[in-house]
């Protein structure tokens, strides 16, 4: 999981963070234009400052007449990014309406992701916990608060390092304190 995240982080890494300065941006644009035989706007690296975004934009420029953008992007990104990237290119196909019907009001917000951390050892005990009657409340776990000292200023902080699960080579030291 750590490895997959690193790859994804690379894709969203700003090229400036990777060390590309303004001169390098011009050189990158020129190299892309030359190698792909396309014209790119001079601010292309500024407008699309991540590897994924730049790839997607360049892929769109490569669509020849009669070919779908999706096929072009898959074909082109394989070489540029060095890996299979199923990027959703902007195609001319009709975007299907959502299952709940068309969103009429433009002031509505679409929820694209939802992540939660909840106080129960049962995975997904949030709303399903309500249905299943899982009790999230209980006594304070022993060791969470030092019950022998009423003033929390005298609570000792415990420093323990451990490695998380998964590949030990990829996961870094986990710092724990309480």
């Amino acid at each position: 999981m750590c490895e997959g995240f690193h790859n994804s982080v690379l894709l969203t890494l700003f090229v400036q963070a990777a060390g590309l300065d303004s001169l390098g941006a011009v050189e990158l644009k020129n190299a892309l234009q030359e190698q792909l035989s396309i014209r790119l706007p001079p601010t292309v690296v500024i407008d699309h400052p991540t590897i994924a975004g730049l790839t997607r934009f360049v892929a769109q420029q490569l669509v020849p007449a009669g070919e779908t953008a999706a096929a072009a992007s898959t074909r082109s990104t394989h070489g540029i990014a060095g890996a299979q990237l199923p990027i959703a290119a902007a195609s001319s196909a009709v975007v299907p309406e959502s299952a709940v019907g068309p969103v009429a009001r433009s002031r509505a917000l679409a929820v694209l992701a939802a992540v939660e951390r909840l106080p129960s050892s049962h995975a997904g005990a949030g709303t399903s916990g309500v249905v299943q009657g899982v009790d999230a409340a209980g006594l304070v776990p022993v060791g969470r608060w030092d019950i022998e000292s009423p003033a929390t200023a005298s609570t000792e902080a415990r420093w323990v390092g451990m490695c998380t699960g998964g590949s030990a080579a990829n996961c870094s030291l986990v710092v724990r304190t309480l």
């Binding site: 694209l112 992701a113 939660e116 951390r117 022998e148 003033a151 390092g161 309480l178």
Partner: protein, 302 residues
């Protein structure tokens, strides 16, 4: 010390038997009357909903040193973890495996406390990271820095309503930007609460707000207080009027916020004000009350 050890023994022996809660309460009261030097209130508020293993954190994955991570509020660490997961799992436009480009995302975080700072202050000397490691403002700002987000980074503190207020503010800013055709039209919206020390719980218990039974019985005649809980949530939202259509997880039709104004006391709710905000939210969403299938409430004490 003998008295304290017995308390630990009683606590451990009773364990999690829910029918012993009232007995536990009486036991603490009896002990409290014989203890003259200790603040026994901290031993009474023994209930809550706690996140398992809230302290563990993979520092290098987020690009910070172990030293800074140890000083950093566990709330900030949780926000980083959930933000990275939200960005990785986002599915714009219904596509299942595209990488969401962060870029101009706003960050609106509901956060109201930072107990961990008292531990840091008690056990470490001032260093380079102390100014930011437990600051409420940094809860949002650190996410913008870590993930390269250039939209507004706002930490919202309106106590228990903070994350919903953060969502409303994010929606207002997004819709304003859509109208003006400038600025970010997507945002991370989240909330977090970790009880790193017992201090806040002590205060709320002393104010009579917590349930001695460790149960929140809102709207019931037997309601006697609430229970403090820990959690962290993170949503990635975007204007539904733009290209983000398709198989979204949900659509937020509208929201509204207001204040009670003058009620019976500082923390008491005001019924008419709550009715008004519900009506405002329904009007904003363009639906009537009869169209709702489910109502989810914040668990207050009464």
């Amino acid at each position: 010390m003998r008295v304290l050890n017995w308390q630990l023994l009683v606590c451990t022996a009773l364990n999690y038997h829910t029918d012993c809660h009232s007995q536990l309460h009486d036991t603490w009261q009896l002990l409290g009357s014989t203890i003259i030097h200790l603040d026994y209130a901290c031993l009474l508020c023994r209930f809550g909903a706690f996140l398992p293993d809230v302290a563990s954190f993979d520092a290098s994955l987020m690009g910070i040193s172990n030293a800074e991570a140890t000083l950093t509020d566990p709330q900030q660490r949780l926000l980083m973890e959930t933000t990275s997961e939200a960005l990785l799992t986002a599915t714009p436009g219904g596509s299942s495996s595209s990488t969401f480009v962060s870029g101009a995302l706003g960050t609106y975080i509901g956060i109201a406390s930072s107990d961990y700072g008292t531990l840091v202050k008690a056990f470490t000397a001032a260093g380079a990271f102390h100014a930011t490691s437990n600051a409420i403002s940094v809860a949002a700002g650190r996410l913008s820095y870590t993930f390269g987000l250039s939209g507004p980074a706002v930490s919202v503190d309106t106590a228990c309503s903070a994350s919903l207020v953060a969502l409303h503010i994010a929606g207002s800013e997004i819709n304003n930007n859509v109208s003006m055709q400038t600025g970010s039209t997507a945002a991370l919206v989240g909330g977090v609460h970790v009880q790193a020390t017992s201090t806040s719980t002590n205060y709320v218990w002393t104010a009579g707000m917590l349930s001695p039974e460790g149960r929140c019985k809102v709207l019931d005649a037997s309601a006697d207080g609430y229970v403090r809980g820990e959690a962290c949530h993170m949503l990635l939202v975007a204007s539904a009027g733009t290209e983000h259509r398709g198989a979204n997880l949900a659509v937020i039709l509208g929201s509204a916020i207001n204040q009670d104004g003058r009620s019976s006391n500082l923390t008491a709710p005001n019924g008419p004000a709550q009715q008004e905000v519900l009506k405002s939210a329904l009007a904003e969403a363009g639906i009537t009350g009869s169209a709702m299938d489910m109502l989810s409430l914040h668990g207050t004490g009464r």
